[in-house]
């Protein structure tokens, strides 16, 4: 296991003629829960897509688990949850998972396990389209957990979930990290920052802080990450 699960160097991504990420450098340590936090529209999803290898990039280098992002060797090693649920609404929960299990060539027994993990075992025969938004996104998360990939890239997996469930998921992310999985989670909700081992704060396509939540707050001299974020932005714009 490399010390860094993800290594991004000088990454530039242009979408629709507009630079979304400019000359970005960052590392994601292995076996930890790293939070990618920033307002919506700041480029979080584009960065995550680049790490998964589905984003066409302008220049730079993205290395994931010692392979170039998106390479064939990684197709079983990266579990990816997009903001849209990315599951088939007209199939049942179990049918969705069995299909993806077959594509990944993992045993059908995995289906029962991941449903247990996301607490949807009792919904197995229900059609996904009939589920609530939160349940659908958990089905999507379950697909990403199939085969226990060493890297999980989760784009806002806790949006719209009730607080109890959110807490459950965060403890799941930490359990996975304790077992050696690298978890990279994006969120635009700053209060989720406290739950991460490490934070990447992002704004307008740039990383403005990369440290533990404690260190970020200490440096800004404030008690919460949201205030730290504001202080960092004010610092950056101060000289103007």
């Amino acid at each position: 296991m490399p010390a860094d699960a993800v290594d991004v160097a000088a990454l530039t991504v242009v979408r629709g003629g507009r630079p979304v990420l400019t000359d970005l450098d960052l590392r994601v340590p292995a076996g930890q829960v790293t939070g990618l936090l920033g307002p919506s529209g700041c480029g979080k999803s584009t960065l995550l897509r680049s790490i998964v290898g589905v984003q066409r990039i302008g220049s730079g280098r993205v290395t994931v688990l010692d392979h170039p992002a998106g390479s064939r060797a990684l197709r079983r090693s990266v579990g990816y949850v997009t903001q849209a649920a990315s599951v088939y609404d007209d199939l049942s929960v179990g049918e969705n998972l069995r299909f993806f299990a077959r594509v990944l060539d993992v045993a059908d027994a995995e289906v029962g396990r991941v449903l247990e993990v996301v607490d949807l075992s009792d919904r197995r025969d229900q059609v996904v389209g009939a589920l609530s938004g939160g349940q659908r996104s958990r089905v999507s998360l379950a697909v990403a957990l199939l085969g226990s990939p060493p890297l999980l890239v989760l784009d806002e997996p806790t949006v719209g979930l009730d607080p109890v469930l959110r807490a459950t998921l965060w403890s799941l992310f930490h359990d996975l990290a304790d077992a050696g999985t690298t978890v990279l989670v994006s969120s635009h909700v700053m209060d989720e920052a406290e739950r991460c081992d490490r934070l990447l704060l992002m704004r307008e396509g740039a990383i403005i802080a990369d440290d533990t939540p404690g260190a970020i707050k200490e440096r800004a001299g404030v008690d919460d990450v949201e205030s730290a974020f504001l202080a960092l932005v004010a610092d950056a714009e101060g000289p103007r």
Partner: protein, 245 residues
């Protein structure tokens, strides 16, 4: 391509269709109803026009229906994010396209057996060539529709646009395939256009089968339709990108 994955995709597509009872019922019933309507229209006319137009309809249904179904379903895969997820997994583009082709090919077999069975068995369509070959032509037409549907779905952003490709891509082929004006009697330019449209060959194969028991020409027309289908699938594969802007 991995057979396990191709078959998993095919099984999944068929399961989705089975869930959608209304679509499945319409896929199978509508061609039968329309061919019966055509037979009824010509019933009181002196010459046996049904023998003239029936084969064309048998060639057209599977093509149109599969074109529509495939372009909308693939577009849905693109916009829902499931395609992106699949392409980040160990799935080959061939598995995706092949899976769809296998699933819709099977539906086309069912659809064509029903439509051909009704035309020949109940409505008295006179076929000189072997009836099973009529079904084979219909299935290949369906695969052609699937291939072209996959291809155009890459150029549509919404389901509205996908449906608009039907008149744009399909109707010119229907007009020029020889159903209304024999291909030889078309103005030179239109005749040349007709020669490069796949449905023309499908139509030729059908009408040859009805007219004569000599199948040599049918096979060469069938080969032409298959070649267009392969080209459509290959071009369609080129539009499936693992990395998107």
């Amino acid at each position: 391509m991995t057979p396990r994955i191709t078959l998993a995709v095919a099984a999944r597509v068929l399961r989705q269709l089975r869930r959608d009872r209304r679509t499945s019922a319409m896929l199978l019933a509508v061609p039968c109803v329309l061919i019966t309507l055509l037979w009824w229209m010509f019933r009181d006319l002196p010459a046996d026009r049904f023998d003239q137009f029936g084969p064309g309809l048998l060639a057209m249904f599977p093509f149109i229906v599969m074109f529509l179904v495939t372009s909308v379903t693939t577009l849905r895969e693109r916009s829902s994010g499931t395609l992106e997820r699949l392409l980040s997994m160990p799935l080959g583009k061939g598995d995706f396209l092949g899976g769809y082709a296998v699933a819709f090919g099977l539906v086309a077999v069912l659809q064509s057996v029903l439509a051909v069975g009704i035309s020949v068995g109940l409505l008295g369509l006179e076929v000189q060539g072997p009836v099973w070959l009529l079904t084979v032509v219909a299935v290949v037409d369906a695969l052609l529709g699937t291939a072209l549907g996959l291809l155009v779905s890459a150029f549509a952003r919404t389901e509205f646009q996908a449906v608009q490709f039907m008149p744009a891509v399909v109707i010119p082929q229907i007009l020029l395939c020889g159903l209304f004006v024999p291909r030889a009697a078309l103005p030179d330019v239109l005749g040349a256009v007709s020669d490069v449209l796949p449905l023309s060959y499908a139509m030729d194969a059908m009408s040859t089968l009805v007219r004569t028991s000599d199948t040599a020409e049918v096979w060469s027309d069938l080969a032409a339709v298959l070649a267009f289908t392969m080209a459509g699938l290959l071009l369609g594969a080129a539009t499936l990108r693992r990395r998107t802007p």
